[in-house]
């Protein structure tokens, strides 16, 4: 149970921070696409008999880089959709080859936070540290290129390279979070809390902090409720993500 709390908290912190940029850059489709595509990796891992996280660690950066490189000169939403479709197709094939129980596939899709092991928590902590370090390093150019790409370019920021780095960062978060919240619900955490946070605060750093706070409360509530009710954690995370956003809209509307 302690492991579940730790892993869930790490996921919330990193999803809250990276999600701030996902929402600011309008990259929610990619934030949905990378975890979905990584499903093929998890399924492939079970075929060859290695832990799912290894498959995630390989496939999510591949998907992220494919989306980034192929989307440069073309419609990036179309490219994202096709990369995801191809990867899901591959995932379906891998699944047909495995002898995994349905419950494990279900856990991949919707998360299984209560089954997190101590080793996985350590791995999560290391990846969280790396992701936070990356965000701290890229913070200013990433912020500027997210809100005013042309201006960033004129200042010498390599915006295309930065976009690619950001997608890889999303892949790291995916690897970290999918075992906990599942591929389908992963982007709930990367979109719901940061989108809601915008209604409450006005500055970038405050929004990032609020986003982390909301993500933490979401995950803690979801773990507690999943434990009490034996309903899937994904149900609570998904509903909470949307509920926060509705609450934020109400707050924003009242302020005007």
């Amino acid at each position: 149970m302690t492991n579940a709390w730790l892993a869930g908290s790490l996921v919330a912190v990193v999803a809250g921070v990276v999600g701030f940029f996902v929402v600011l850059r309008g990259a929610t489709f990619a934030a949905h696409g990378v975890p979905l595509a990584s499903f093929a990796g998890a399924a492939g891992a079970s075929v060859v008999g290695v832990p799912a996280v290894v498959g995630l660690a390989v496939f999510s950066p591949v998907a992220a880089v494919a989306i980034g490189l192929l989307g440069r000169r073309r419609r990036s939403d179309v490219v994202t959709a096709l990369v995801v479709a191809a990867m899901l197709g591959l995932g379906a094939l891998f699944l047909s080859w495995t002898v995994e129980y349905a419950s494990e596939i279900y856990a991949l899709l919707f998360g299984e936070v209560l089954g997190v092991t101590g080793t996985e928590v350590w791995l999560s902590a290391a990846l969280t540290g790396a992701a936070l370090l990356a965000v701290a390093t890229l913070y200013r150019p990433l912020l500027l290129s997210s809100v005013a790409g042309e201006v960033a370019e004129a200042r010498g920021v390599r915006t295309a390279r930065l976009e690619l780095l950001f997608l890889v960062l999303m892949a790291v978060v995916t690897t970290l979070a999918v075992p906990v919240v599942g591929t389908l619900l992963m982007f709930t955490l990367m979109v719901g809390p940061p989108a809601a946070a915008r209604a409450f605060v006005r500055s970038p750093l405050a929004a990032m902090a609020a986003s982390v706070g909301i993500a933490l409360v979401t995950v803690w509530l979801a773990i507690a409720l999943a434990y009490e009710t034996t309903w899937p954690i994904g149900f609570f995370v998904g509903i909470a993500g949307a509920a926060w956003y509705v609450l934020a809209r109400v707050v924003a509307a009242r302020r005007r």
Binding site: T137, P141, E153, G156, S203
Partner: protein, 253 residues
């Protein structure tokens, strides 16, 4: 002592897919000068800016900068109303927004940002979200972002395109005043030139990839402009203000 040329473009040529977008463009901008880049849509103004900013390498010709850095103000930014970014955050990114790593807030940085916001008349909305500001207010914030790093050249891409007449004139007057105060050269593109005429020292006219450069008095004349636009254009004096109008049916009463 001859004036310092902060920007010298010589024979800049850019070819896209066999089409010459810029064809041997040459002009220079001297320190403190207010230069208008005039040209019809598609004449190559944006391409020339990309060359000046170093984002596009010309296939022939050279671009030389002297002095401090270049500040750039885009035509507009697309920032949603609820994006958590205050005017002061965007101006602070003008100090060193391209750098990696963490920068802790300091009093001197805050003071520089405050002074700049004050100078562009944006102090009143310094803590408002950029996305909720009007076009003219956003333009002021973008100018503050570009100038807070104390460039020697300010490049503005169609700053008046999205503004009403009043805001447009206010922005031009602001830039002209800052240019004097901060020893700043300005290169500003526009297809509607009336607002910038009173402040413009020199004109670079761009048509079909070629540039003609001259003082405002040399270029802003009915015969010269009509020839350049290949369309009847009249330069009129209306109560002491020079205005440029186009069209066959322009009659001077």
């Amino acid at each position: 002592m001859p004036p310092v040329r902060v920007l010298t473009v010589e024979g800049a040529t850019v070819t896209f897919g066999g089409r010459r977008v810029l064809d041997g463009v040459s002009f220079s901008v001297e320190a403190g000068e207010f230069v208008g880049l005039i040209g019809a849509n598609g004449a190559g103004k944006t391409t020339l800016f990309r060359v000046v900013l170093g984002l596009l390498k010309p296939s022939a010709g050279t671009v030389r900068h002297l002095g401090r850095r270049v500040g750039y103000v885009p035509q507009k930014v697309a920032i949603e109303p609820d994006a958590p970014l205050r005017a002061r955050d965007l101006v602070a990114l003008g100090l060193d927004g391209e750098r990696f790593g963490v920068r802790l807030p300091s009093r001197s940085r805050r003071e520089r940002v405050d002074r700049m916001l004050e100078a562009v008349g944006a102090a009143a909305f310094a803590d408002a979200r950029v996305g909720t500001l009007s076009g003219g207010e956003q333009q002021r914030v973008l100018i503050a972002h570009a100038l807070v790093g104390q460039p020697s050249l300010l490049v503005m891409d169609e700053p008046l395109a999205n503004l009403d007449i009043k805001s447009g004139h206010e922005i031009v007057e602001l830039v002209a005043r800052l240019a004097v105060e901060q020893d700043l050269a300005v290169l500003l593109s526009a297809h509607e030139m009336n607002a910038i005429l009173p402040h413009m020292d020199r004109v670079v006219y761009l048509a079909e990839g070629r540039a003609v450069s001259g003082t405002t008095g040399e270029v802003i004349r009915s015969d010269v402009l009509s020839e350049l636009y290949r369309y009847p254009v009249k330069v009129l004096d209306v109560d002491g203000t020079v205005v440029v109008v186009g069209g066959h049916d322009v009659k001077v009463r």
